[in-house]
């Protein structure tokens, strides 16, 4: 982190403790114009960017047949009805723990991947990275490469400048708008919403979300860029806690590179390191750092400096890998030129792998073993019991039947754990207890009375059973039967 006094760049300033300029308590954002680069990592980034964006923009339009009583959108979060759909899976609000589980799995997966491969999430998958990359690409298409962009921005206002900047900002705006629009599609039926959008007939909520997200995308990907990673993002900070000496990182090979310096073709290499100080790595960096200063918090591990350096090494006729994706142990402790193997199995990665496996198994079995039928029984609190004129005791219960299937169903209710019990449903019309009807994908709410000729005694447990008349599937819910006032 930061600037180490060992390397050349810092040497001058570090050695002298002499007073220089006025103290700056606030730092102005320095505009970064990352240069175009070609290479392995850039190709990976292009491919991933296209895949991620294509998924994001198109996924809401994927259809998924769930029958007539459920939406046919593959990925949908229906906030009004309280349902979330993801291809085969569907969850109800009371199953939100599954969502929690997914977040837990995601967090552990991030730890696991980070401890093995460094900040790959930051460099390749993060929304901030992907959209910034897209915005920079647009910028370059319109304004040209790094140098031209810098010249244009710092130069005087001309017609060409107004036109180019205007075109850039307009394109950014359109992308931001599409991004925001796609986001709300995940919460509504996509084709319907698109149509109503073009008919100027969308709710204020949808409009507010579109305006808010268009603004945030425009600002974050257009202007804030690396500031987000450096100053706003918590992950950037705590991911370094998952690093150890065997974590793959993007690093400059100091042993090989120093002392750095310009080198003329054909001249002697003696006394010089392999780094020709061309600053190609600095010019392509999207966060504007010098990787040669060592591992830094600002580094998002995108690997573009590796591509840039490799290109230069090819030109000067030296082996690639002066900046490489390797472990700290390799850079610091390697003795031979032989490539050392990655040490994947370490206590840290074992812990993460074990936790990840356990949590994923639990979550997956919860999802797969999800019952399409649930019964919830709540004993009346007031009155706790009712004595009837023939001396019988009656208890009242609120029951909720969660029919998670996409078909209308009939159920049979029974009770166990109490002798000679008479069960009766209290509802509109006369619903017999073996023909309790619940509509598809909804909750049936009924009042149930259980009556029995029973001597007053301590409260005891009883069980309600609910059977699906069609499938025979049965669920139960435990509750209690109260026969007398509990004296203190």
């Amino acid at each position: 982190m930061g600037c180490s006094s060992k390397d050349g760049q810092c040497k001058n300033s570090c050695a002298t403790a002499a007073p220089t300029d006025d103290i700056q308590l606030f730092k102005k954002q320095e505009r970064i114009y990352p240069k175009k680069v070609k290479g392995k990592f850039r190709t990976i980034k292009w491919v991933l960017m296209v895949l991620c964006l294509a998924f994001y923009y198109l996924a809401p339009f994927i259809r998924w047949d769930r029958g007539p009583n459920a939406p046919d959108q593959a990925i949908l979060i229906d906030l009004v009805k309280g349902r979330a759909y993801w291809f085969w899976f569907e969850i109800w609000p009371q199953e939100v723990y599954i969502l929690t589980g997914i977040l837990v799995v995601a967090a552990i997966a991030l730890f696991f991947v980070t401890s093995l491969f460094g900040r790959v999430w930051c460099g390749f998958f993060c929304f901030q990275t992907v959209w910034t990359d897209l915005f920079v690409w647009v910028e370059r298409m319109i304004q040209g490469d790094s140098f031209q962009r810098k010249k244009l921005h710092e130069g005087p206002w001309t017609v060409a400048k107004i036109f180019k900047l205007g075109a850039t900002y307009l394109s950014w705006f359109l992308i931001s708008w599409a991004t925001a629009g796609s986001f709300v599609l995940y919460f509504n039926d996509a084709p319907t919403l698109v149509r109503s959008f073009f008919e100027f007939n969308v709710s204020t909520t949808v409009l507010a979300f579109i305006i808010g997200l268009t603004t945030s995308t425009y600002i974050l990907a257009g202007f804030a860029r690396e500031q987000v990673c450096t100053y706003m993002c918590p992950y950037a900070r705590f991911q370094s806690a998952m690093f150890d000496k065997d974590t793959l990182i993007i690093s400059y090979d100091q042993k090989r590179g120093e002392p750095r310096g310009k080198h003329k073709k054909g001249a002697d290499w003696s006394g010089l390191g392999d780094c020709v100080d061309c600053t190609a790595c600095v010019q392509v960096c999207p966060t504007g750092i010098d990787i040669r200063d060592g591992l830094q918090m600002e580094c998002i591990a995108c690997g573009l400096c590796i591509d840039a350096c490799d290109e230069v090494m090819d030109k000067v006729g030296l082996p690639r890998g002066l900046i490489a994706y390797h472990t700290e142990r390799y850079f610091d402790e390697r003795t031979t030129e032989k490539k050392e193997k990655f040490k994947f199995i370490r206590p840290r990665t074992i812990y993460y792998a074990v936790i990840l496996t356990v949590v994923s198994t639990v979550m997956l079995s919860a999802l797969i073993g999800r019952s399409p039928l649930e019964l919830a029984v709540l004993h009346d609190r007031n009155p706790l019991f009712v004595k009837l004129s023939n001396g019988n005791i009656r208890n009242g219960y609120d029951i909720k039947i969660l029919n998670k299937t996409h078909d209308h169903r009939h159920y049979t209710l029974s009770v166990d754990g109490i002798e000679n019990a008479d069960i009766r449903l209290n509802s509109a019309g006369d619903v017999p207890i073996n023909q309790i009807y619940v509509e598809a994908d909804s909750v049936g709410h009924y009042k149930v009375f259980v009556e029995s000729k029973i001597e007053p005694q301590e409260p005891f447990d009883i069980k309600f059973y609910l059977k699906d008349n069609e499938t025979g599937e049965q669920v139960k819910h435990e509750t209690m039967f109260i026969t007398k006032r509990i004296e203190k």
């Binding site: 006094s5 606030f26 004129s389």
Partner: protein, 313 residues
């Protein structure tokens, strides 16, 4: 001093500038904040000031500054209430036009009526009958199947509408004589009849008991020869397990000696017919509600009476 503090010095170990502040050899490093952060701070301040102007914010004697927008949560409440009332109207209209029978068959209207009745019950009836309608001594439990004046939906509706001994001309009314206080029966006779009555619900009484004759000549006219009560005059069933004024010997003796006559107000004028109907449905579904066609079977009133002596429990 100040001049020295304005000079930039670089810390040798970290390579970071210091602020020039030093305490016993420890120097404060300067990792500057981004400048836009300051602008965000300024923007928040401006927003804060704007908020003070637009919304009620500063406490002043007698309330708070009003704010130029005139915003108040009372208006919001009024608006939400208006919206709720508007939404209810659609149901209410349908509900008012439907008979009890139709409402009981329609799940939507039924839920609407039960919800409305539940709210009205807690506001108006819970004072005496309790929030769970479980009643208390002298206040009937509305959850059970023991009804003084009938448990069909129409019976309940009439009771709620006009009340009991409420002074309304349609009110349900009856009076049990104070057998002891008014010297109708002697002390021993009261004791005998109480023994007989208490034995009824336990199945121990028989015609050989001295209380039997006393009961037949004094009580049966209202409570029935079999003591199962008479709903036409609110005479409770004395052979069941439920005692409105208590079922111990002392309590029953007290009832016979002094007589009780509970009062329930008329609600028709105060709540309006629609709410009374909702209340009737709510009370009916608490668990003891009776069906119209089963009325005669269940009540078993033998109506033996010309009516002079009327009874409450």
């Amino acid at each position: 001093m100040t001049d020295e503090h304005r000079k930039v010095e670089v810390d040798e170990i970290s390579g970071v500038n210091t602020t020039g502040h030093e305490w016993d050899g420890l120097k404060e490093l300067n990792n500057p904040l981004p400048r836009w952060w300051v602008w965000v701070f300024v923007a928040c301040c401006i927003w804060g000031a704007w908020y003070w102007v637009i919304y009620p914010s500063w406490p002043i004697p007698g309330g708070a500054t009003k704010g130029t927008s005139g915003y108040t949560q009372y208006d919001e409440l009024k608006a939400s209430q208006a919206e709720i009332i508007k939404r209810q109207e659609a149901y209410l209209d349908k509900f008012d036009k439907s008979s009890f029978e139709d409402v009981m068959k329609d799940p939507e209207l039924y839920s609407f009526a039960v919800a409305g009745g539940s709210a009205a019950f807690k506001d108006n009836c819970a004072t005496c009958h309790g929030t769970g309608a479980e009643g208390g001594k002298g206040y009937p439990n509305l959850n059970d199947d023991d009804w003084l004046w009938g448990g069909t939906i129409n019976d309940i509706y009439t009771t709620i509408s006009y009340g009991i001994r409420s002074g309304h001309e349609e009110a349900r009314s009856s009076q049990m004589p104070a057998f002891g206080k008014d010297s109708i029966l002697k002390k021993e006779e009261i004791e005998q009849v109480v023994d007989y009555v208490l034995g009824l619900s336990e199945g121990k009484s028989n015609e050989a008991m001295p209380g039997y004759a006393i009961f037949q000549s004094n009580c049966a006219s209202c409570h029935g020869a079999d003591a199962k009560g008479g709903r036409d005059f609110g005479a409770p069933n004395l052979s069941d397990a439920i005692w409105l004024y208590g079922g111990t010997k002392d309590e029953v003796t007290n009832t016979v000696y002094n007589a009780h006559a509970g009062v329930m107000p008329t609600w028709q004028a105060r709540l309006g017919d629609s709410t009374v109907r909702q209340l009737a449905i709510y009370v009916h579904q608490l668990g003891g509600g009776e069906k119209d066609e089963t009325k005669s079977v269940q009540t078993g009133v033998q109506s033996p009476v010309e009516s002079p002596v009327q009874v409450s429990e």
